[in-house]
Symmetry: C2
Subunit: 363 residues, 2 copies
């Protein structure tokens, strides 16, 4: 979707992706297959380019830093990316910048977490998060009772207090090298409790205007603290006392901004380009209310995907469907998403629920 936005300005785009069948392959001028974690591959790809950006955090910082030293513009900066890639460093960053995030401790492995419990320096309940490579529900363990301790991850991790969550919000901010900042309306995310990934998202979030302002201010403070250029999706918890806590951030176009293609004056993709090209940022006003439903692989099905109920969904006014073209489905795999729009927030939710009922990815 980012390359589509780039095409609108006739920008020459080159993509590097480990998957030779990456969907973006058909949408760019030049495609390179390669490992994003391999510094040499990243340097080889980036050499001679004017500007590099990312759509996934897990890219070799070493490679990007080398390119930056050689004069290639990199947004977001390798420095910020390094902090964000390591959730432990991310938490330390929030603490040192007075950005609210749940109290935490770092541990080396499962044994040191268990030892802390034995020494009563750590008490159940808590959340364990792998410091690296967590994604879409992987790398997070919620320990509610001592029975859950068996499932602890055995790797460098952080453990944080369970925040009592009234809702989970995401606020996407953009910043350009001139320092201009612009923030999209806060959205509310509804998680699938079983898979721990976003099942549905509603924009704007149904929170009070003063909380909307507070959430936007927190996103602004966060992108300013990182000093990065491009987009920063700031995921937050709202607790019952109406405090906001940063959960984590993503320095790129984000799942919680897909709906902006249909519902805001400027899409997150165009905004990312405006930001990294140091162009004036676009308006983030809403045209309509929106909901986004992730199309997840149904439980009990694996193999070549079959999309059931698509025609029924397309009969819903304001329903657009995005199919990612993944060749295999499996339970809870993200296979696409549907965007619903309406002038009315209640109706948009009704539409989203209808899509959830009708659309099913089997095999």
């Amino acid at each position: 979707m980012l390359t589509q936005a780039a095409q609108t300005w006739h920008v020459h785009t080159s993509i590097m992706d480990p998957d030779p069948n990456a969907p973006a392959r058909a949408l760019c001028n030049e495609f390179t297959q390669g490992s994003l974690q391999d510094p040499d591959a990243v340097v080889a790809f980036g050499t001679g380019k004017d500007l590099l950006s990312i759509e996934i955090e897990n890219v070799s910082v070493e490679g990007l830093t080398t390119l930056q030293e050689r004069g290639v513009q990199i947004h977001p900066s390798p420095d910020a990316l390094q902090t964000i890639q390591d959730k432990g460093k991310q938490k330390e960053f929030y603490a040192s910048h007075n950005l609210p995030s749940a109290p935490f401790h770092l541990y080396e492995d499962k044994a040191s977490v268990l030892a802390a419990i034995d020494h009563a320096t750590l008490t159940v309940p808590f959340v364990q998060k792998a410091r690296r490579d967590g994604y879409d529900g992987r790398g997070v363990v919620v320990v509610r009772t001592r029975q859950d301790l068996d499932g602890l991850l055995d790797q460098p991790c952080l453990v944080e207090n369970l925040v009592e969550i009234r809702s989970e919000l995401s606020v996407i901010a953009a910043r350009n090298p001139s320092g201009q900042i612009s923030v999209f309306p806060p959205v509310e995310m509804v998680f699938n409790p079983e898979a721990n990934l976003v099942e549905m998202l509603v924009s704007p979030a149904s929170i009070t205007p003063s909380l909307q302002v507070k959430a936007r201010q927190l996103a602004t403070a966060t992108i300013e603290a990182f000093g990065l250029c491009g987009l920063l999706a700031v995921e937050m918890f709202l607790d019952p006392s109406e405090n906001l806590w940063i959960n984590e951030v993503a320095p790129r176009p984000h799942n919680s901004g897909h709906h902006t293609l249909a519902s805001t004056f400027t899409s997150q993709y165009e905004q990312h380009l405006r930001a990294i090209f140091d162009l004036p940022l676009g308006s983030t006003d809403s045209k309509v209310c929106a909901a986004m439903v992730n199309i997840l692989g149904a439980k009990g099905y694996e193999g070549t995907p079959v999309y059931e109920g698509v025609e029924e969904c397309l009969k819903i006014d304001g329903c657009s469907i995005h199919i990612y073209g993944k060749q295999q489905t499996r339970p809870f795999r993200k296979m696409g998403h549907a965007t619903l729009i309406d002038q009315d927030q209640v109706r948009v939710l009704e539409k989203a629920h209808r899509v959830q009922e009708k659309l099913k990815v089997t095999s």
Copy 2:
């Protein structure tokens, strides 16, 4: 923009274009360079495809008919395309289907037009249109006085009465093989008098609700008469007595629908795909008011284009800019377009005028 919509559904797309540097090349799965007027090239390209559509009228009907006979789905149908390609046949079609269009006569060449004037069977003023290959102001001669007769085209043509024009409208209709029809809000086109091409477009048109209905009904009747599947842009004249006259039609995504990407629930591109795939048509409701400004090459400049004023324009809330990436500019050449959106119709016009002032393509 059509292939971008197709990509959203992960549809495998193949493009044929005479220009090896066609912008769509980077946006499709497979690209073939070839002449769209060469029947053999069209047949070679279409063989083995599931479904073919067009984005320009001037495609070999002979080639498409051969493919259709061999079982390839073609939308719009070669039959309808044949009628539309020839403006003489188009006019005869309207007459025989009781669709309102200005009275006309067909002539073989310049001499026969002049002879008709000598014999007083034709009187100045009138409009002469080439039967074939007119596009973007080419192939149309407005004869207001006898001095204009020197400029007559010397080719098979039609001559029609000058309709007194209060405004020019375009209404895009869509129809799928199941017979469902859906119509976008009528838009008003403002022409550059010098170049005879659309300079600005406003959606919705500032006409009374009853005229909106009448214009939609005429578009519906027209696409039904052609029986074609896909989009049909119906360009109409509104005269001072509030009569509507069909000027001409285009059976494809149309310049007068660019703004739908930003302003309607479903874009014309997605609607075209829904129509040719026989899927339920999407809502054509407006999210916001829109204007589209064609970015034309400035007078007095030819060569590698330089786009002046882009940053100023991007500061306007709701301004998105599309650059087509053409390698050469020349006076009045369409180099891109800007879309402006706003909740308010007066403000959207103000924004459009600001873009017209600021944006200039020089060399």
